[in-house]
Amino acid sequence: MVQNRVISLIMGVLAFMPAIAFADEVNGADTAWILTSTVLVLFMTLPGLALFYSGLVRAKNVLSVLMQCFAIACTVSIVWMVIAYGLAFGDGGSLNKIVGGGKILMSGIGLDSVSGTIPETVFFMFQMTFAIITPALIIGAFAERLKFTAVLWFSALWLILVYAPVCHWVWGGGWLSDLGFMDFAGGSVVHINAGVAALVAAVIIGNRKGFPQTQMAPHNMTLAVMGAAMLWVGWFGFNAGSALTAGSSAGMAMTVTHISAAAGSLAWMACEWIRYGKPSVLGIVTGMVAGLGTITPASGYVGPLGGLAIGLLAGVVCYFATQYIKRVLIIDDSLDVFPVHGVGGILGTLLTAVFAAESMGGLGLEGSIGSQFVTQLIGVVATVVWCGVISFILLKMLDATIGLRVSEDEETEGLDLVLHNERGYTL
């Protein structure tokens, strides 16, 4: 009797063995948090960024911006599934330092595929939401004047030629990760990439008709503020989700992200208040985006004081960068993608070397601040050069073939009616 019980107990334990081994690979808590983070990051684009951007353009172009964000989300999802996920996270064999490969049409990814401690499907989805928001950020540079076909072609090809390889260098086992380059949540992959592509696009495509003399004030600031607030909430998934685990790393990333957003908001607000005598609503929310973009590469590596310092610097530096691009260089990066995301991404990626050091309240560096700074600089330069050159070639080729810009009278009439046969408001 007793023997039977012991035997059945042992049998029972043996029967559970595979399940226990399986549980060691896939962690339920981690999986739950990354599923949640995936939702939050998609929420940043739809509807967060879409509302933020659409409120900032003129009423005649509100739908074109919403449409571009929506269509990019759809297009990137399919391109990601077909080829880009493999290029970013697959095994590139002898070329693995430069670019990944395989996993075309998600081949080989099933219920049992595991990435770290989460199912690979979850990792695939989480990373896809980053791939969606990056080209969506770029549209701010050429808002109110680009053909819809050009937006789609540019976004799809740019994802394959720029986003996927840079993503592979940094997170997919490429040469920058071998070098010890630190980018926790996408300072280079998302923000420098989007910012540089935006600047190149703004220069090649040219200013909007009438810029900067004509009145081009935002048509609906309340939409813009709602969208910006959604970005803040979604960014917790972006940065704390990039821990890829539900633990202390995610907790610290969320904390410094929040502190930096608050500090960036106040810093930008203060700059405008001092310079123009009034604090503006668009100013405080733009400072928030700058603080969030700048903390992104550092979010899993720095402490609360680092978050505070990075946020304050982001608000001030991105504010002056915006003034410089718009008022001195007279470049119509219409929604200020480069001065906020590009400059913020560069600043944050470099400052990661400083504030990750234990002496600066960070979570620690493998080498010295100096040597890490050089590594960060290499990563920044590589991203800027690759993204700048490839984006330039891509835009020139599209301009020569399908054409980038709508005609002058179409631009005056507004993209909503001309490209989509609809109007945003019937009042």
Partner: protein
Amino acid sequence: MKLLIAVIKPYKLDDVRDALSEVGVQGLTVTEVKGFGRQKGHTELYRGAEYVVDFLPKTKLEIALDDEQVDTAIEAITKAAGTGKIGDGKIFVQDLEQAVRIRTGEAGSDAL
């Protein structure tokens, strides 16, 4: 008959309406308009992009009156809409040839 056209500060509309009712004005038409006068426009700033707004929002009133009501109506509007600052607005007076009440077909002063 005269037609008074008054352009006033939008927030003074209720005061003016009350003042006109007190002096026996039976009806008026209100339109939201934009314009400029001696009061300068204002500047709007969006991330450093500066836009000068030349045309300010105003409220336009159209009031049809018998000749003898005109002076009291002008006085009522001036008192109610005045702040003493630039931008209070203007009153224009025109001759009015005819007025017809659509429901009854009454014409002239009877229609006012």
